[in-house]
C-alpha cells in the first residue's frame, strides 16, 4: 500500500530532538577554525547626514582586528529589482546618510563576540539630523525626499482597471480606510552567516531560504563565477519570507574575511533583528465596494499605499500580488486596483508569510463585511451570494488571475457546519439580549491565494540510486522547518519501493545541488515535489531497461513492483532483480543510475478555504480572547496530513497574531518602540486556542501530484476571520470597522465611541 496520504512521522526529528539542529552558529568545520566575529554598529537616528565618524578608539580596543566604514568598502552597491527606482539603491554600509534606526554605519571584526560589542561603544558617528518621515501618507506628498537623486519617494506605482465610473449604477457604495499594519517576522533564529575563502572560492554558510539565490547574489557582488561560490544552508530556524533575500550584513562577510585574512562569523542579536532584518505587511488601504441592495456585489476598488521602509525591498513589490488577488473568492465584474509603494525612515519591508495575499484577503473580506453591514444582511449570506461557483473553474478573474480549481461554497458549508454557525449566532443573540459583559463575536472569511507564483514556476531535482540499493534525492528547494526530507523521501519510497531509512535528502548546498530556487511562496511540494516525483519515474524507466537486459527480455516484459523495488518478468515466477542489481549494472556501464528533472508548471495554483473565528470581548476592559478557530483549507491533494496540518497551525497562529496583538511601531522621530521581544507582542501559547481543522481536497490539474501550496494559507485566511470576529462582537453597538491589532485599548475606545453608547 502506498504511504502517500499517510501521517508519516518526520525523519528530521530524532536529531532535532536529541542533540538539537545544526544552525549556522553551531557549525563546527575546519574551514571556520579561528573565525573572527563580526559586529555591526548601527544608526541610532532615523534620518541624518553623517558628518564624521570617530573609530580610532575602537580600533585600539582589546581583540579588535579591524573597524571599517563605507569609505573602506570597495564592493559595489547591490542593484535593486529592475522595476524600482534605481536611485534608491542601498549601500552596504550607510554612506553619508542614515535612513533608518538600525542601519549599519560601521563594522567591527574582533577575536571574540563580546570584544566586538565592547568596541562598538567606542565608535562615534557625528550626525546632522534631517527631517524624518515615518508616515507613508506624508512620504507620498514628496515634500521631504529620502533619496533626493530619485526625485520622488515613490518606488513603484501600479494601476489596473482604472475607471472613474466604476460604481455607476450601483445602489449601494460603501468605503473604508483600513490599515494592514506592519508586523515583525520573528523567525526564532535571527540572521546568521559565516564566510571563508577556501582555495580561492568563497564559502558562505547562511541561514537562508534560498541557497542558490544567495550564491548568485554573492557571485555578482564579488565578480565571481557562480561556480566559485559555495553557499551552504544548514538547519535554518525559520524564515517566513524574511530570509529569501541577501542583506548587506551578509554580503559584506566575504569582503571582511578577505580583509582580515580569517574566516568570519556573524550572528545578529534579536534586538538587531527586530530593527534590521525587515518587517512584513505595512499597507494603508482604501476599500470601496458597490452593488445592489439584495447583496450582489458589482464593483470593487482597492487603493494601496505600501510602506517600503528606507530602501526598496520585496515589500515594495507586494502590492503587485495584492492586486492579482484583490477580488478574492468572488465574482466581481468590475475591479480597479491602484497602488503606490513609498520609502519612509523605517526598517525595510520584506516578504512575510503570505506576502501581499493576506493584504488582499483582509481588504476584500473587510469590504464584504461592511457591504453586508450596509445592506443589513448576514455577512455569510452576502459572501455566499457572490462566490465563484464550483462549475466555473478554471476561472479568470477581473484582475486576470486564472484560478485552477476550487469549490468555495463547499468550503464555506463545511466550516459553518463544523463550527455550528447557527448555534453560535443563537448564543451571540442570547448574550446581546442579556447585555452580558462578555460579548461574542463570530468572524467568517473566505480566501483564495496564489502559490508557486506569481508566474509559472519550475524546480530542479535529481534522484540517484546507489549500488547498495539506497537512494539520494537532491532538491533545489531549501527547507527550514517544512519537513522536505520526510515529504520527498516519502515520494521516492512510494515510487521506488525503497524503504524510508535508505533514502537521503540533500538540499541547501550549492556544491551538491546543481540548481534550485529555494523555499518560498508555498512552492516546494508542488514544484520541488513534482520534480522529485518525475525524476523517480525516470529512474524507473532507466532501471527497467537495465533489468530487461539483465533478465534477457524486452523492457515491455518487465513488471516493476513498487512495494519492494523488484523487477520481474511479467507473468513469470522467477525472483527477478532488485535495485542493487540494476544500480550495479548501470555503474558497471559507467553511468550512475540517476535522473535529473526540472519540473515546469504551466500556471501557479490557487489554494482556498474558509476560516471561522469566535472571540470573547470583555466590554468593560476591551480584552479580546480568541476562543475557537475552525478552518477548512483546501490545498489540493495532501501528501502527508501531519505536515500539512502543521503548516496550517503555524499559519493560523501568525495570522491571528496580526489580528489580535502584533504591531511594529515607531515614534514620530522614527525610533522603533518595539525593538525587542519584551516590547513586541509575539504571540504565545496562552493567547491561542487549539485549532479545529477540517479537511478538504480539490486536486489541481497543474502538476502530477495534484498539490497546491499550504505554507501560507493559514495566515491568509485567519487574519480577516479574527479581525471580523472582533468587529462582529461590537456590531450591535454600531461598530462597522476596527483596525488591527485588536488591543484592549483600541477595543475599549471603540466601545466608548460606539454609536450606541457605552457597552452593551
Amino acid at each position: 500500500m502506498s504511504i502517500l496520504g499517510n501521517r508519516v512521522l518526520r525523519v528530521e526529528d530524532p536529531k532535532l530532538l536529541t542533540s538539537g539542529g545544526t544552525y549556522v552558529a553551531d557549525v563546527r568545520v575546519p574551514e571556520l577554525d579561528g573565525a573572527a566575529h563580526i559586529t555591526y554598529v548601527r544608526s541610532t537616528i532615523a534620518h541624518a547626514n553623517i558628518t564624521g565618524m570617530e573609530v580610532d578608539e575602537a580600533r585600539q580596543a582589546p581583540g579588535v582586528l579591524g573597524v571599517f566604514t563605507a569609505a573602506d568598502i570597495d564592493l559595489g552597491v547591490p542593484p535593486l529589482l529592475p522595476m524600482f527606482n534605481q536611485a534608491m539603491a542601498r549601500p552596504l554600509l550607510a554612506d553619508g546618510v542614515v535612513r533608518f534606526v538600525g542601519e549599519p554605519v560601521a563594522v567591527i571584526v574582533s577575536e571574540r563576540p563580546e570584544q566586538g560589542a565592547d568596541a562598538s561603544e567606542l565608535v562615534w558617528p557625528d550626525y546632522d539630523p534631517l527631517p524624518v518621515i515615518v508616515d507613508p501618507m506624508e512620504s507620498a506628498r514628496d515634500e521631504v525626499l529620502l533619496h533626493p537623486a530619485a526625485g520622488t519617494n515613490v518606488v513603484l506605482a501600479l494601476t489596473y482597471g482604472e475607471d472613474p465610473n466604476l460604481f455607476d449604477g450601483c445602489e449601494v457604495v460603501v468605503s473604508e480606510d483600513i490599515v494592514n499594519q506592519r508586523v515583525a517576522v520573528v523567525p526564532l533564529e535571527s540572521r546568521s552567516a559565516a564566510a571563508a575563502w577556501v582555495d580561492g572560492r568563497l564559502w558562505q554558510w547562511s541561514s537562508t531560504q534560498n541557497a542558490h539565490g544567495v550564491r548568485d547574489v554573492l557571485a555578482g557582488q564579488y565578480g565571481l563565477d557562480p561556480a566559485a561560490v559555495r553557499v551552504i544552508a544548514p538547519d535554518v530556524g525559520g524564515g517566513f519570507g524574511a530570509k529569501i533575500g541577501v542583506t548587506p550584513e551578509e554580503v559584506l562577510l566575504g569582503w571582511l574575511a578577505r580583509r582580515v585574512g580569517r574566516p568570519v562569523r556573524w550572528s545578529e542579536t534579536r534586538s538587531e533583528n527586530m530593527v534590521a532584518m525587515g518587517h512584513g505587511r505595512g499597507q494603508w488601504q482604501k476599500i470601496e465596494i458597490g452593488g445592489r441592495r439584495d447583496g450582489t456585489v458589482e464593483a470593487y476598488r482597492l487603493t494601496i499605499l505600501q510602506d517600503g521602509g528606507a530602501y526598496p525591498n520585496m515589500g515594495a513589490l507586494l502590492p503587485w500580488l495584492t492586486r492579482v488577488m484583490a477580488p478574492g473568492t468572488y465574482v466581481i465584474p468590475r475591479v480597479e486596483v491602484a497602488s503606490r509603494a513609498v520609502v519612509t525612515n523605517t526598517t525595510c519591508t520584506v516578504a512575510y508569510r503570505g506576502a501581499g495575499r493576506p493584504e488582499a484577503t483582509a481588504a476584500i473580506e473587510r469590504a464584504m463585511d461592511i457591504f453586508a453591514f450596509e445592506v443589513g444582511m448576514d455577512p455569510v449570506e452576502v459572501r455566499r451570494k457572490n462566490l465563484i461557483p464550483a462549475d466555473a473553474f478554471p476561472y479568470t478573474t477581473a484582475t486576470d488571475a486564472v484560478y485552477d480549481s476550487g469549490d468555495y461554497e463547499e468550503a464555506l458549508d463545511r466550516v459553518l457546519e463544523g463550527a455550528g454557525y447557527q448555534e453560535l449566532r443563537a448564543e451571540q443573540a442570547r448574550r446581546r439580549e442579556a447585555a452580558d459583559v462578555v460579548q461574542m463575536g463570530i468572524g467568517v472569511a473566505l480566501y483564495v491565494e496564489i502559490t508557486a507564483g506569481p508566474t509559472a514556476g519550475s524546480e530542479h531535482a535529481r534522484v540517484v540510486v546507489d549500488v547498495d540499493g539506497s537512494a539520494t534525492i537532491y532538491t533545489g528547494t531549501s527547507a527550514h522547518g517544512q519537513g522536505h526530507d520526510t515529504a520527498f523521501a516519502t515520494l521516492v519510497s512510494s515510487r521506488l519501493g525503497i524503504p524510508m531509512d535508505k533514502i537521503t535528502v540533500v538540499h541547501g548546498d550549492t556544491d551538491l545541488v546543481e540548481r534550485g530556487q529555494g523555499t518560498m511562496g508555498s512552492r516546494s511540494l508542488q514544484l520541488g515535489g513534482s520534480a522529485v516525483f518525475e525524476a523517480a519515474a525516470e529512474v524507473i524507466t532507466r532501471a527497467t531497461q537495465i533489468a530487461a537486459r539483465l533478465l534477457e527480455v524486452t523492457p515491455g516484459e518487465i513488471a516493476f513492483d513498487d512495494s519492494n523495488g523488484a523487477f520481474r518478468v511479467a507473468g513469470g515466477d522467477e525472483p527477478g532483480v532488485g535495485w542493487p542489481d540494476v544500480a550495479g549494472a548501470s555503474k558497471f556501464d559507467g553511468t550512475p543510475l540517476a535522473a535529473s528533472v526540472d519540473f515546469q508548471a504551466s500556471e501557479p495554483t490557487f489554494p482556498f478555504g474558509a476560516h471561522l473565528a469566535v472571540v470573547d470581548v470583555d466590554t468593560e476592559t476591551g480584552q479580546v480572547r480568541l476562543v475557537r478557530f475552525v478552518a477548512v483549507d483546501d490545498a489540493g491533494r495532501i501528501l502527508n496530513p501531519l505536515l500539512a496540518e502543521g503548516q496550517r497551525h503555524g499559519g493560523i497562529a501568525q495570522g491571528s497574531a496580526q489580528a489580535l496583538l502584533e504591531e511594529v511601531c515607531f515614534d514620530a522621530d522614527g525610533n522603533p518602540v518595539t525593538s525587542n521581544l519584551a516590547d513586541y507582542a509575539a504571540i504565545s501559547a496562552t493567547e491561542l486556542p487549539s485549532f479545529e481543522l477540517i479537511a478538504m481536497e480539490t486536486p489541481t490539474p497543474i502538476n502530477p501530484l495534484g498539490a497546491k501550496g499550504i505554507g501560507e494559507s493559514g495566515t491568509v485566511g485567519s487574519t480577516p476571520a479574527v479581525q471580523s470576529a472582533v468587529v462582529d462582537a461590537l456590531g450591535h453597538l454600531g461598530v462597522r470597522h476596527l483596525d488591527m491589532p485588536a488591543t484592549a485599548e483600541r477595543v475599549w475606545r471603540a466601545i466608548q465611541d460606539a454609536p450606541s453608547g457605552k457597552g452593551a
Binding site: T18, S19, L188, G237, S271
Partner: protein
C-alpha cells in the same frame, strides 16, 4: 574565575569570565550547541535548560552563579541507549516541532512542567510554556505533545 559545572552528568571545570552567560558557557565553553539563543530580553525560552532539575532560561544566569550545580541540556535527556525521553517521543509523535529552533528549550520547559504538574489540563500546559515562543507550530501540536507525554508518564508510573 574557576568554576565547576556538571552538565548531563559530566563535570567540567573551567576558567570563565565573570560576565559570561550560562548559555554561552554551555555552547562555547563546553561545546554543547543544542541549546539555542533566540533573544536578548529573557522572552523566548529557546535557551531553557534544567538547573538541578528545574527549568531556567540560561541566557539570564551568569555561568559563575551556578558554580557547583548541575545542568541538563537537550543532549542529556535521552537514555544512554538513545531511547528518547517520553517528552521527546511525544514531540515527534505529535509533530510538535518544525524548524526545531525553539525545540530544545520547549522540551526542557515541558519536562520541568510535567515534573511539577504531572497531570496538567490544556490551559495549564499553555500557561506552563508561555515563556517559550515558537514561531512555526502555532503551539497546537506542542500542547498535544505535552498532554500526551503527561498521560504516557501517568500510564507508565
Amino acid at each position: 574565575m574557576e568554576m565547576t559545572l556538571t552538565v548531563n552528568g559530566t563535570s567540567h571545570t573551567a576558567d570563565v569570565e565573570p560576565r559570561t552567560l550560562l548559555v554561552h558557557h554551555i555552547r562555547e565553553g563546553i561545546g554543547l550547541t543544542g541549546t539555542n539563543v533566540g533573544c536578548d530580553t529573557t522572552s523566548c525560552g529557546a535557551c531553557t535548560v534544567l538547573l538541578d532539575g528545574q527549568s531556567i532560561k540560561s541566557c539570564t544566569v551568569l555561568a559563575v552563579q551556578v558554580d557547583g550545580q548541575s545542568v541538563t541540556t537537550i543532549e542529556g535527556l535521552a537514555g544512554a541507549d538513545g531511547t528518547m525521553h517520553p517528552v521527546q517521543a511525544a514531540f515527534r509523535e505529535h509533530h510538535g516541532l518544525q524548524c526545531g529552533y525553539c525545540t530544545p528549550g520547549m522540551v526542557m520547559a515541558a519536562v520541568s512542567l510535567l515534573a511539577e504538574q504531572p497531570n496538567p489540563d490544556e490551559r495549564a500546559v499553555r500557561e506552563g510554556i508561555e515563556g517559550n515562543l515558537c514561531r512555526c507550530t502555532g503551539y497546537h501540536n506542542i500542547v498535544q505533545a505535552v498532554l500526551s507525554a503527561a498521560s504516557a508518564q501517568e500510564g507508565g508510573s
